[in-house]
């Protein structure tokens, strides 16, 4: 190249430079964003963790007045065999006065024949306050309302698993479950 030919290039085209700067930064940002997504998403539940998220439970073995506790994906669930008195107590409550108003029927899922199995209450075993596991009949403390008592911060649940007293904001959630047979339920997260 001869020197004579280089003269037109001595002026700097600011627009072209800006374009290159912006294009470079945008490409780098897109790359960083795409990579960040990978590194953030890897912390979400892995496939095997997601897969272990349902369980069949034989409810015929739950003693009357007692409960069975199962872990699904590390989360506790209660299956309680309620006595007649406990069912009556749960149904007699004036729902409008509850913190989280729900009737006892709304907290039961019908069997395959469409009838409610009022004796069997299935709830999450995680206190809705800060995630402790409440104690129940097996631990000898059912709280002021005969259901469960959370020892961490003093939440009392009734025999339908509804919050009655203490700091918890809502009822023990009813998990997603269905009757596979009259004596077996399938609980999934």
């Amino acid at each position: 190249m001869s020197e004579a030919q280089s003269t037109p290039h001595e002026t700097i085209d600011e627009d072209r430079r800006d374009f290159i700067h912006i294009a470079t930064a945008a490409t780098a940002a897109a790359g960083a964003g795409a990579l960040a997504y990978v590194f953030i998403d890897q912390m979400n539940a892995a496939s095997d963790t997601k897969a272990a998220s349902s369980l069949d439970v034989d409810i015929s073995k739950v003693p009357l007045g007692g409960e069975v506790r199962v872990l699904i994906g590390g989360k506790p669930f209660f299956i309680r065999h309620r006595t007649e008195a406990e069912i009556k107590a749960a149904e007699a409550v004036d729902v409008s006065k509850l913190r989280d108003p729900q009737t006892d029927e709304e907290r039961l899922i019908p069997m395959q024949n469409g009838e409610l199995n009022r004796a069997m209450l299935v709830t999450s075993g995680t206190c809705t306050h800060l995630g402790c596991v409440p104690v129940g009949p097996s631990q000898g403390n059912t709280g002021d309302y005969g259901g469960w008592y959370c020892p961490c911060h003093g939440s009392h649940y009734d025999t339908s698993g509804r919050i009655r007293k203490g700091p918890a904001p809502s009822n023990l959630p009813v998990p997603d479950y269905r009757y596979v047979s009259p004596t077996t339920i399938n609980i999934s997260l």
Binding site: M43, S53, G73, L130, C132, C152, H153, G154
Partner: protein
């Protein structure tokens, strides 16, 4: 770093060669040998050095523990017990690490209290203070993650409570919680990531510590008098002494005393600051009756639990979380909340009273955090036994008793009549821990949001000394003649 001219002169051929390529010796010399330091620093100023020792201790003992630890739900608890029983001196290294965390927090609280008392957060040291707050936040994160690793009952259920706090956030809370735990609950995947992050965070702390020291060395140390060292050469010479040997020796002495206390814990009461439940392996189906965090987090736990009421659409649970995080976030903006131009509370007689009230508040909040919120502090009357039954008209009726036997007899009598009857305890009215915690929480926030902003405008401070030199020697008295 601080703008004062470097007095380092490399003497040997090698140091001259190195100094023109990487002046690292010069940096160390100017920062830790020749650095002009106010000559009136008291022992409260030794905690910076003590904290550096704490960080080094934790990193060193932690690296060793990681060589023997297994981060799986099946192996973690057993591997910690193996460290205690089988690894040569494993018990010592683990006790150093566990108690070291407590010592670290003890030192950092004294360090922060010193900063609060002597106004070390005020201009031009705002960034220095904020970096300190970042370190404190990272320390709390590291301590929480580390406490989960032994996979004891407190580890597991404490982690449940803390991740539950994040779940309280509206809309995004649950997905962030699941993202942090890596699944529907705290499990193996959670333990593994907590281990990884517990290893990472101390090095981030070390990085921020470097920035913290850098930000310290630009304006130089604050001091008990709260007045700046003079900048002119003569004034600077009168107000300051070189860091070495004056403060290397003073800090060194304080570090030795601190290590003696540290050793007393490690050798004579290694578990006194821990919780016995953490020697039971984690069991997701059984929650310990009384979940408490380690002592250094108790005041904030008390604030969390003090909020038992809703405000507008925000329920008590979320509000508690907001107050707890708010209590730490407020520290970051403290430099702009305190309106007083006077740094040291030596010259702020009114603010000083409120400061000691604040220290008492923190200690009492710790007591509340450790106690069951429903327990009475001052009982008013005694608990009653209430028998509720259905009377002849089918209405609910109650009968109150003092003694169990009388109540039980009455209940049995009703039951024999074929009527439903049950005994319940009616707690007597009392001034409970939750009430105390609410008052203290109010004071905590009032101290930062009301007292410090208003007091700076209204109080009349005492006269500050004109220089550090005068603060130490009083008015310019002639030095007494040396004895002949």
């Amino acid at each position: 770093m601080s703008g004062h001219p470097s007095a380092y002169e490399p003497k040997t051929g090698f140091t001259k060669w190195l100094d023109s390529r990487l002046p690292v010796v010069r940096l160390a010399y100017d920062s830790f040998v020749d650095f002009p330091t106010p000559k009136n620093l008291n022992y409260w100023w030794t905690f910076g050095g003590i904290l550096a020792v704490c960080l080094a201790t934790q990193i060193l003992s932690g690296i060793v523990l990681a060589m023997h630890y297994t981060p799986t739900v099946d192996g973690a608890f057993a591997s910690v017990e193996r460290i205690m029983r089988d690894v040569p001196y494993g018990w010592l290294i683990r006790y150093i690490h566990a108690n070291g965390a407590s010592m670290f927090f003890l030192a950092v609280y004294i360090h922060m209290a010193r900063g609060l008392y002597y106004g070390s957060y005020k201009a031009p040291r705002e960034v220095l203070w904020i970096l300190g707050c970042v370190i404190y936040l990272l320390m709390m994160g590291t301590a929480f993650l580390g406490y989960v690793l032994p996979w004891g009952q407190m580890s597991y259920h404490g982690a449940n409570v803390i991740t539950g706090l994040i779940g309280a956030l509206p809309v995004v809370g649950d997905s962030i919680k699941a993202w942090l735990m890596g699944g529907p609950s705290i499990g193996n995947q959670t333990l593994q990531r907590f281990f990884s992050l517990h290893y990472l965070l101390p090095f981030m702390i070390a990085g921020v510590v470097i920035l913290h020291i850098w930000a310290l060395h630009v304006p130089g140390n604050n001091n008990p008098a709260g007045v700046e060292a003079r900048k002119d050469p003569e004034g600077l010479k009168k107000d300051t002494v070189p860091f070495h040997p004056y403060y290397t020796v003073k800090d060194g002495f304080a570090i030795v005393v601190f290590l003696i206390i540290f050793a007393a814990f490690v050798f004579y009461m290694p578990n006194v600051l821990g919780h016995a439940d953490n020697y039971i392996e984690a069991n997701p189906l059984v929650t310990p009756a009384h979940i408490v965090p380690e002592w250094y987090l108790l005041p904030f736990y008390a604030i969390l639990r003090a909020i038992t009421f809703d405000i507008g659409p925000i329920d008590a649970k979320l509000l508690g979380v907001i107050f707890m995080f708010g209590s730490i976030a407020i520290l970051f903006v403290l430099p702009w909340l305190d309106t007083s131009k006077v740094r040291s509370m030596r010259y702020r007689p009114v603010a000083r009273q409120f400061f000691f009230g604040f220290i008492a508040t923190m200690l009492l909040l710790g007591w509340c955090g450790a106690s069951n919120p429903d327990d009475p502090i001052i009982p008013m009357g005694s608990d009653q036994l209430v028998v509720s039954y259905t009377d002849a008209n089918g209405n609910e009726a109650t009968q109150t008793y003092e003694e169990y036997e009388a109540a039980a007899t009455f209940r049995d009598q009703k039951l024999d009549e074929g009527v439903d009857a049950a005994i319940a305890v009616a707690k007597a009215p009392a001034f409970r821990f939750v009430h105390l915690a609410q008052i203290l929480t109010l004071y905590y926030f009032a101290y930062f949001l009301v007292i410090l902003p208003l007091l700076g405008l209204r109080e009349k401070p005492k006269d500050e000394p004109t220089s550090i030199h005068k603060a130490v020697l009083g008015n310019d008295r002639a030095a007494p003649a040396p004895a002949e």
